[in-house]
């Protein structure tokens, strides 16, 4: 029994460590995906892509040159008044 126990213990630990490793790996991947999604969302907000999407949803229209012109008319009024810092 003791031997079995002694013999089984490392195997069990190895499995747990393997699970822990795969769990940690999944966490890292998920953290990277989360970080990328935040970076991507930030860039889309800074570059007004999100604002354009919201405009399309608000107006219930699809993206087109005409829609983008309308968006720019609306957005640029505010954008042009926005100061840029020194």
């Amino acid at each position: 029994m003791t031997i079995k126990c002694e013999a089984g213990a490392p195997a069990r630990y190895a499995t747990q460590n393997g699970r822990k490793r795969s769990f940690a790996g999944a966490e890292i991947v998920s953290a990277i995906v989360r970080a990328w999604s935040i970076v991507s969302a930030t860039l889309r907000e800074i570059f007004d892509e999100s604002a354009y999407q919201r405009f399309l949803e608000r107006k219930h229209i699809r993206s087109s040159p005409a829609a983008y012109s309308m968006f720019q008319c609306e957005n640029n009024q505010a954008k042009a008044r926005r100061p840029r810092c020194c």
Binding site: D48, E49, A51, R58, A67, Q77, K79, A80, C85, C86
Partner: protein, 698 residues
């Protein structure tokens, strides 16, 4: 994390920061590694954010996660949009980071690396971050109102008018000073001039691409624009090597000034989608990428600083700009330590995006810490240069002499050895004809940045490409500041003129557009022309003037913040609501907590008023505007130069008088509230509980 471990961790961070600060402050004789500056800054910022901003958030502002923000209450999918805090942080950082934190530290490096570095770190943690944070929160609690509106409602009508005049003055002087930086960076540089000239058709092409080919794909078009700009840098190298092309793009400072003035006028009058918007996107794309690249370069290369901690020029005899370390180091570095201009951003777009009050700390305080780090990187870029080279690049011919040999001899006589041959080799390495007298900070920053990059990627063979990449990067976003600033100034002017004649306020009426654009361009163009014609290089007078204006605006912002904090300490529950006028529902705060805004306010009053006194009345003609005008009047100088000096003196005096008025009005309001002769009424929006779930995915 267990509490004990947390305590040990923060003690370790504090000790490491203290060690790094002691090292940079006390190290003498040998060169110091730039990483000490980075460690000192990062540790101080971490401690400042964790403890100081935590104290302000909890004890003074009493941030309430359950109180709905205007982004939630007024959500219209356009101006008011509840947004993830990281996204708002990026947006806010992109709006506050401009050429200021890059140029100011480079100029202030003439005192050595120590004064500027300490001011950037301490100024940010105790002043700049506090200002940005509290103004952001106060704007959130007032439906995203602007600084001028808050000043008007919390201090009085004079406060609002003065804030308005301060804003328009700072915009005009900022545009003149930054345009001069571009002129000095591009004069006699066919490579740089070609590259920057190409950014205009590239931006127009991006505008058409966005509007006609791929509507709304801004990131895609910015990437395309970036690739074209890189191609333009290589094209610039080819142009500089072809005699006929090089001659066409080798322009003098006055010619460049006229072109930039014309550009500003055109950019302000043309449709936004054609030039301003795509250039803004391109500039932001390059800015964020380059700042990240510079951080990686400094960490990877770990350069040594060749500049001593303190130079002899702390006595006020500096060639880059005249004036003693106090107060001039503290107005030369505004953005990066404390910048009044940030209060406009903190009370502009950002408060309309914040999803939860508690996130104001991360965005306001944290965003300024990130900008301060950019200032540290700029300081490192300037100080990795040999001091002789730094002074040769940044000193005007009027101070060091016209010929390379004379300039090298003058600079070497100060104890910073440099030779004409050494400068010629460096100029050749970066693809320029000469690097002498390239005042303004941008060329020195570009040489430092090229040195860091070329030691990290590509070696000396590509130093010229890195130099011109850095020049392109700076000039690109300075020109963006110019076209956006001219347009903002034009709108402000139209708003003001509409009180005189209504049609002038119509923003789509072309006669009004052309008239007000011409007025704004003439205003900053005058300062630019003055700088170009100034034998002392222009930066000597314009940058301190800009610094004074910027810090005076910070005084206005801190006055507003201090008045509100005093009111919060005296407001009692149960005051009747009158429209949107309510008493703060939060518990009373101690009056002594007012020190968080009062301390930086007092410091800035001391700094800016002393600097203004020197700039107007100092008997040294290199410092005092009036002394310089009198000196010119005794010779047969151009009367225009004399007029310019007197104009600078008048502008400085006028701003100081106005800010004094707001200080007095603010002090009077606070005094009446403290003595109980005036009710402490806080004009916040009514409290509404949030409907957003408390825990949201990041």
């Amino acid at each position: 994390m267990p509490k004990l471990l947390r305590i040990i961790l923060w003690i370790a961070v504090s000790l490491l920061g203290a060690l790094a600060l002691a090292t940079i402050a006390l190290h003498r004789g040998e060169q110091i590694n730039a990483l000490w500056l980075v460690v000192a800054a990062v540790c101080t910022y971490a401690v400042g954010y964790r403890f100081y901003s935590g104290f302000i958030a909890a004890k003074i502002l009493a941030l309430d996660p359950l109180r709905a923000t205007p982004a939630e209450r007024l959500d219209n999918g356009r101006d008011f949009v509840p947004t993830n805090k990281w996204v708002v942080f990026g947006h806010h950082f992109a709006a506050i980071a401009g050429p200021g934190p890059l140029v100011g530290p480079v100029l202030a490096a003439q005192f050595g690396y120590l004064p500027g570095t300490l001011w950037i770190i301490a100024g940010a943690v105790l002043g700049g971050c506090v200002q940005d944070f509290v103004i952001l929160l106060f704007s959130i609690r007032r439906d995203g109102k602007s600084l001028t509106e808050i000043a008007k409602s919390e201090i009085g009508p004079i406060g609002g008018v003065i804030a308005y005049i301060a804003v328009i003055s700072i915009i005009v002087i900022l545009l003149g000073a930054t345009a001069l930086i571009v002129v000095n960076a591009l004069k006699s540089s066919p490579w740089g001039t070609f590259t920057i000239a190409m950014t205009i058709p590239i931006a127009v092409l991006m505008g058409f691409y966005l509007r006609r080919i791929r509507p709304g794909k801004v990131l895609e078009s910015s990437l395309l624009g970036f690739i074209l700009v890189i191609a333009a840098i290589f094209g610039g190298q080819w142009v500089s090597q072809q005699p006929s092309w090089a001659a066409a793009f080798t322009l003098t400072a006055p010619t460049l000034a006229v072109l930039i003035i014309g550009y500003g006028f055109a950019a302000s009058s043309l449709p936004v989608w054609l030039l301003l918007a795509p250039r803004d996107y391109l500039s932001t794309f390059v800015k964020l990428g380059t700042i990240a690249l510079l951080a990686v370069g400094i960490i990877a290369f770990r350069p040594s600083l060749h500049m001593p901690p303190l130079t002899r020029f702390a006595d006020g005899t500096g060639p880059v700009f005249a004036g003693t370390m106090f107060p001039f180091a503290f107005i030369t570095i505004a953005c990066g330590a404390i910048s009044g201009f940030h209060s406009l951003i903190s009370s502009g777009t950002t408060p309309k995006l914040i999803r939860r009050e508690t996130e104001a700390r991360f965005v306001g305080y944290g965003g300024m810490l990130a900008e301060s780090m950019v200032g540290i990187m700029a300081m490192i870029s300037a100080c990795v240069l040999q001091p002789g080279i730094y002074f040769a690049v940044n000193s005007p011919a009027g101070v060091v002499g016209q010929s390379p040999e004379a300039a090298a001899a003058t600079i070497s006589s100060w104890g910073f050895p440099v030779t004409a041959a050494q400068m010629a080799t460096l100029a050749h390495a970066v693809g320029e004809q000469t690097l002498f007298n390239r005042t303004g900070g941008a060329p020195a920053f570009a040489v430092g940045m090229a040195q860091i990059f070329s030691n990290t990627l590509g070696g000396q063979a590509v130093m010229a490409l890195w130099y011109h990449f850095a020049i392109m990067f700076e000039a690109l976003f300075i020109l963006t500041v110019i076209d956006a600033g001219t347009r903002v100034g034009r709108f402000m002017l139209q708003d003001a003129l509409s009180h005189i004649w209504k049609p002038l306020g119509r923003t789509s009426w072309y006669p009004s557009i052309l008239f007000t654009s011409a007025l704004i361009v003439a205003a900053w163009g005058n300062f630019l022309w003055q700088g170009v014609k100034d034998p002392l290089g222009g930066i000597n007078s314009l940058w301190p003037l800009f610094g004074i204006c910027n810090q005076l605006l910070a005084i206005v912002a801190l006055c507003v913040a201090t008045t509100i904090i005093v009111k919060m300490s005296r407001a009692s529950d149960g005051v009747a609501n009158t429209g949107n006028v309510i008493a703060s529902s939060a518990p009373k705060r101690r009056l002594s907590y007012v020190f968080v805004t009062l301390t930086p306010l007092c410091w800035l009053v001391a700094v800016t008023f002393t600097a203004s006194w020197h700039k107007v009345l100092d008997p040294n003609p290199r410092i005092g505007f009036l002394a310089h005008a009198n000196q010119l009047a005794r010779t047969t100088a151009n009367p225009r130069l004399i007029f310019n000096d007197r104009l600078d003196a008048a502008v400085t005096s006028l701003l100081v008088v106005m800010v004094t008025m707001i200080l007095i009005e603010s002090a009077a309001v606070c005094g009446r509230i403290i003595t109980g002769t005036k009710a402490a009424v806080i004009r916040e929006s009514p409290y509404v509980a949030t409907r957003l779930p408390l825990e949201e995915p990041a």
